[in-house]
Structures are given as structure tokens and as C-alpha cells.
């Protein structure tokens, strides 16, 4: 394992909640410039893994590095200067203006006293611009639509000037255009050199936009790699317990996943079943 590789390198990560091993020996890599999708059924540990990577939960074992630095040894603040997390369904505060919300991203870079420096203000303006939220700057956050909020959340994360951007289901509750523009934005950020890791539910969306997919099941990595190779009907059957046909997108050539309806609600559970070929 070369420690000098650029990007995120996690190895044998473990996290215990109560007496339960929630993250179990997870290895993962997100190079600089790459968009990786974190996939898995509800409860597979996607959010928990993102929280461990962001330092919200302390890992109970394993190693985690970024650009060769040991993330687990960094102080919280130093870590927050490199890693930003966009949560799913975060608490919505009242009365804050959008540019102030984005300004929260500067907290890891600021001392307790004093206002926003000119650097802070420039970074906030850039972040708003990058997220396509400049026009929202003086609006109230709690009056925005879901898609607008998501752009502001992204701008807040960008104001942290992170090298690693973690997102927990960033397309949740968004209309299709907002979903596509969110993923296009993640691609732009990766092109600027960030490592991007996003938990996603939509497999076709992941297949179309991610360079890598990491599939979790019961806190373990079930499969990881190129979405074209990983997202097979067998794997989908094993992880999600549904029958799927993998097609090819007529214009992009990326995998397009079509699901068969489930006949009975009480159908078999995923994961524990051995991998069987789809009909």
C-alpha cells in the first residue's frame, strides 16, 4: 500500500455502535479528481461510513489517509479544513441568510474573534458561484426550495475549501433537473482536483456519473470498482433483492438499470441470500 498516493485511502476501517459492528473492515479509495458513488441498501452503513470519514464518528480501527496524511491523527479543526460533509436532511435553521449559511463553511479556517476577512468573503463568493447559488445570496435559507437549498449546502461545503467532499444522498427529494445538475457540479469539482464521494440510491444515476462505485452491505464492502463491471444483475439481486436488467444508454453508452416489479411485498430479503443469476 503506497502511502503517497493522492486522494482518500481508507483501509480496514471499523466502527462499533453499542455492541454492533456497523462498519466492518472497509477498504476504500477515492483518488483526486474522481467521483465515487457509495451504494447499498437502507441500513447498509453508507451514512455511518461518511460520518466516520468526516470525523463525526471516531473510527474504532483501521487507517485513513488523504494525500499521505493520517486523517485519524489530525485535530478536528485541521480535518474540517480538508473534508466537507453535505448531510442528508440536515436540521433547517430559521432566519439565516444564504450568504451567512455559506459563511459557516469558513468556521474551521477562522479564529473565534473578528469578522469575515476579505479572503473569507472571496471564498464565500467563489463557493456561491461554483454552486450556481450567487443569485440566492441574500435570500433566507428557510424560504428556499429543496433544489436551491441543496445548492447552498454544496456552497457551504465548498467554502470549507475541502480536498475531499462527502455527500449523503445529495439528490434526495430533488427533481430530475436538480439531480442532474448536482451530479454535473460534482463532476466539475472533481475536475478541479477534489475527491468526491457521494452516497446515492439511484443506480442508473451512479452508473452514469461515477468513476467508481463502492457497494456496501451490512457495513462491509461487497464490491468496488468501475460501475460497468460492478453493477451486474447478480450483484443487484444479492444486495437489493430485486431483479434487474442492465441496459445500455442509447447515447452515452453507460449502464442503465431497469428493475422488474416485485410480485409480493413479503418477498425474500437481500444480502443473506447467495448470489443467484437473474432470469
Amino acid at each position: 500500500m503506497s502511502a503517497s498516493r493522492r486522494g482518500l485511502q481508507g483501509s480496514r476501517l471499523r466502527f462499533v455502535r453499542g455492541s454492533q459492528l456497523v462498519i466492518d473492515d472497509v477498504d476504500l479509495t477515492v483518488p483526486r479528481g474522481a467521483v465515487a458513488a457509495l451504494l447499498g441498501a437502507n441500513g447498509a452503513g453508507k451514512s455511518t461510513l461518511l460520518h466516520v470519514l468526516a470525523g463525526v464518528h471516531a473510527a474504532d480501527g483501521g487507517s485513513l489517509g488523504f494525500d499521505g496524511d493520517d486523517l485519524l491523527a489530525l485535530r478536528r479543526r485541521a480535518r474540517a479544513q480538508r473534508i466537507a460533509l453535505v448531510e442528508q436532511d440536515a436540521y433547517t435553521p430559521g432566519g439565516l441568510r444564504v450568504d451567512h449559511v455559506v459563511g459557516l463553511g469558513r468556521i474551521p479556517h477562522q479564529s473565534a474573534w473578528g469578522g469575515d476577512s476579505t479572503t473569507d468573503q472571496a471564498v464565500i463568493a467563489d463557493a456561491l458561484d461554483a454552486a450556481g447559488a450567487t443569485a440566492l445570496a441574500t435570500r433566507r435559507y428557510d424560504e428556499l426550495s429543496g433544489g436551491e437549498r441543496q445548492r447552498v449546502n454544496l456552497a457551504r461545503a465548498l467554502a470549507q475549501q475541502p480536498a475531499l467532499l462527502l455527500l449523503d444522498e445529495p439528490t434526495n427529494h430533488l427533481d430530475i433537473r436538480a439531480q442532474l445538475s448536482t451530479l454535473a457540479l460534482l463532476r466539475q469539482l472533481a475536475d478541479r482536483g477534489l475527491s468526491v464521494l457521494a452516497a446515492l440510491h439511484d443506480l442508473s444515476l451512479a452508473a452514469a456519473h461515477a468513476d467508481h462505485v463502492i457497494v456496501l452491505g451490512d457495513g462491509r464492502v461487497v464490491a468496488a470498482g468501475d460501475p460497468v463491471e460492478i453493477l451486474t444483475p447478480e450483484l443487484i439481486r444479492a444486495v437489493w433483492g430485486v431483479d434487474a436488467t442492465v441496459l445500455q444508454h442509447p447515447t452515452t453508452g453507460r449502464p442503465l438499470i431497469a428493475f422488474a416489479p416485485i410480485a409480493s411485498v413479503a418477498s425474500d430479503e437481500p444480502s443473506a441470500v447467495p448470489v443467484t443469476a437473474a432470469p
Binding site: 460520518h51 468526516a54 463525526v56 460533509l85 436540521y91 439565516l96 441568510r97 451567512h100 468556521i107 441574500t138
Partner: protein, 376 residues
């Protein structure tokens, strides 16, 4: 062994002249004028606002000292203050000088310190519990502090007063948060209900201790502790309240950015580099400490920590770097005027100041409740 710190009523004030029922010019009118949330100022505007409020506070102190029996003018008040600070010769009669310097000044300055401190506590508690209804009074801290204070006074160990009040406030805070957590989480509703239960029990204990021990007018003493009163405020009380404000309140004023980090919840705060558990514990214990010290001189004055932060938030927005200092200053001005009303409205009788703050605070509480419902 009477329980009498905030209950004593100075006699000179009311014997000097017949009733002078000047209406307290409530500072709330000033706040309601500019109710636009978008007008959040940057650092310079905050500094300007703070400067203006400091000037308003200074004017408030001088003007409030002229109000009441004795018909003093602002110049008389300034002369008395000047003489005592060694800036000029005593030109005022001894009686008038005594009214200004021995009765009104300590009371006004104590009111200012208590108002500022309670407002700071309210801002910090609202941010950390993400509960718009959080306030030292509603969450039971003030009642807890009263119990501690009353017990120490009964035992006759005055020195321990602020510490006992702190212990009481801390116990009440622990009880409220523990009860709320056990009842399903720290939602605004659960927390306020838990605070209600804790307040009721601690309030009853306060009453019991007073009733059991008091030799004179136990009902008035009870009211003064339960509703809050500044009528007993003397220079030692001022020193205690101002000291607590300096030692605990001023450091809390520097936590604006940290409180901002909690705006999107614990996970977001943590991802911004904040040590969430430790920070919340330290800051809540600090609010208990400050509340304890303030309650030990004033009793449990309600709603100041609730009203002021919300009123100021309407004008300057929700950013804590502006909200904390401006709420503190507004709280100081507010309580001085309300207390001036409490001592003059029904002259020669005194109202416990908490009656007036509750008269203002109850409707504000109701409005917040309705707004929270509309938004959910």
C-alpha cells in the same frame, strides 16, 4: 434567619415624596420598528449598533435614576455619580445623594447586569439546544438556583450564596435535560415540558423552605424569589451580578462562531471541526453558573432570556457574533426600564419585576409557539 436578599424594601425611596407613577418607557417599541430579517449587518454595522446601545444604556442608567419620588434631574444623578467617583464635589443634599447612590444606582446596575446575563444565557441555550423556547427560566435553571439560594440563606451562610445557586441551577439543568432525553429526545416541546415539571418541583421546594423558616412576611419573600425582584439590590449584589457577568458572560460573548456552527445540527457542527459534546457541556454549565449568580441577587426573573434574543434576532438576523453582544446590551436596557416600572407603577407598593417580564414574555412565548407550529 429570614430569607431576605431580594425581598428587602428600602424605605427612603417611598417616604421621600408622594406617588410619582411615571410609566416605564419600554424599549420594546424601539425593537419592533425594524422587523426585517434580511437586514443582517456585517461586522461594522454590528459594532455601530453595539456602540449605539452602549450610549442608550448609559442614558438609561442616568434617566432611570431620576424616576421615582424625590424629583431628581439627570444633572443631579450625574453630580452624585461624579462625586462618588471622585470627579467632582458633592453638590447634592445627603438625602438625595443617598437615594441616587445607595438605593437607585446599585439597583439599576444590578438590573442591567441581570438583564444582560439572562439575555446571554437565553441566546446560548437557544443555540445549543436548537430550541427557540429555551431560556434559563423556562428550562428550570432559575427555579433550581432559587432553591440553592434560599437553602443557603436559611442556613445563614451568605458566602456560599452564588455557589449554592449555581449548584441548584446545574441540578435543575441536569434534571430538565435528563428528563427530556428520557421522554424521547430534546425536541422543543419535550424540553419545555420537562422544564415545566422541574420548575414546579423546585419552585415548590423554594416556597416550602421559605414558609418553614420565615419569621416575617413569608408570602412576599416567596413571590420575590419565585417571580424575581430587584428591590433588595445593594452594592454587594451589584458586585456579584457584575462579577459573574464579567467572569462568565464576557467569555460567552466570544462563542458566536461556535454557536453558529450548531445552526445545522450536531453532525454539521462536528464536521465543521467543533467538539460537539464537550462544547455543549462546557457552555451549558457556564449558563448554569451565570444564571445561579444572577438569581442569587434577583430571584427567578422570567422570560428575559426568551424575549430579548428573539427581538434582537428579528432585527440583526440569526448570526451569533452580532446576536450575543446586542442581546446582552438590549437585555440590560430592557430590565432597567422594566424594573423602573416595577418600583414606580404602583408606588408606594412594589411589584416583583418578574410580573412585568411575564406580562411581556407570555405573549411572546405564545407567538413563538404559534410560529413554530406554522413552520412545522
Amino acid at each position: 434567619m429570614t430569607v431576605s436578599r431580594p425581598a428587602e424594601t428600602p424605605s427612603v425611596d417611598r417616604s421621600a415624596a408622594p406617588g410619582n407613577t411615571t410609566e416605564a418607557p419600554g424599549p420594546t417599541g424601539r425593537i419592533e420598528g425594524v422587523a426585517t430579517a434580511a437586514a443582517a449587518p456585517r461586522g461594522a454595522a454590528t459594532a455601530l449598533g453595539a456602540l449605539g446601545l452602549v450610549a442608550a444604556l448609559a442614558a438609561t442608567v442616568v434617566l432611570a435614576a431620576t424616576i421615582g419620588p424625590a424629583g431628581l434631574a439627570p444633572a443631579d444623578v450625574l453630580a452624585s455619580i461624579g462625586a462618588h467617583l471622585g470627579l467632582g464635589d458633592a453638590t447634592l443634599s445627603r438625602l438625595h445623594d443617598g437615594i441616587v447612590w445607595e438605593l437607585r444606582m446599585p439597583r439599576i446596575l444590578t438590573a442591567a447586569a441581570v438583564g444582560a446575563g439572562l439575555a446571554i444565557c437565553g441566546v446560548v441555550m437557544q443555540a445549543l439546544t436548537r430550541n427557540p423556547l429555551a431560556d434559563p427560566y423556562l428550562l428550570g435553571l432559575s427555579s433550581g438556583a432559587s432553591v440553592g439560594a434560599v437553602i443557603v440563606l436559611v442556613l445563614g451562610v451568605q458566602v456560599a450564596l452564588p455557589f449554592a445557586a449555581f449548584a441548584g441551577a446545574l441540578a435543575a439543568l441536569g434534571a430538565t435535560l435528563g428528563l427530556a432525553r428520557a421522554a424521547g429526545g430534546l425536541s422543543p416541546t419535550t424540553t419545555v415540558l420537562a422544564g415545566l415539571a422541574v420548575s414546579a418541583v423546585f419552585g415548590a421546594v423554594t416556597s416550602l423552605v421559605i414558609f418553614w423558616s420565615a419569621t416575617s412576611d413569608s408570602y412576599r419573600e416567596m413571590l420575590n424569589w419565585l417571580l424575581g425582584s430587584l428591590s433588595g439590590a445593594d452594592w454587594p449584589a451589584t458586585a456579584l451580578a457584575a462579577g459573574a457577568l464579567a467572569v462568565v458572560g464576557l467569555p460567552l460573548l466570544t462563542t458566536g462562531r461556535t454557536l453558529d456552527a450548531f445552526a445545522f445540527g450536531d453532525t454539521a457542527a462536528s464536521a465543521l471541526g467543533i467538539h460537539v459534546g464537550r462544547t455543549r457541556t462546557i457552555l451549558l454549565v457556564a449558563t448554569a453558573l451565570l444564571t445561579g449568580a444572577l438569581v442569587s441577587v434577583s430571584g427567578a426573573i422570567g422570560f428575559v432570556g426568551l424575549i430579548l434574543p428573539h427581538a434582537v434576532r428579528l432585527v440583526v438576523g440569526a448570526r451569533h457574533r452580532a446576536l450575543l453582544p446586542l442581546s446582552a446590551l438590549t437585555g440590560a436596557i430592557f430590565l432597567v426600564w422594566v424594573d423602573t416600572g416595577a418600583r414606580t407603577l404602583f408606588d408606594p407598593r412594589e411589584l416583583p419585576v418578574g410580573i412585568l417580564t411575564a406580562l411581556v414574555g407570555g405573549p411572546v412565548f405564545a407567538a413563538l409557539m404559534l410560529r413554530a407550529r406554522r413552520m412545522s
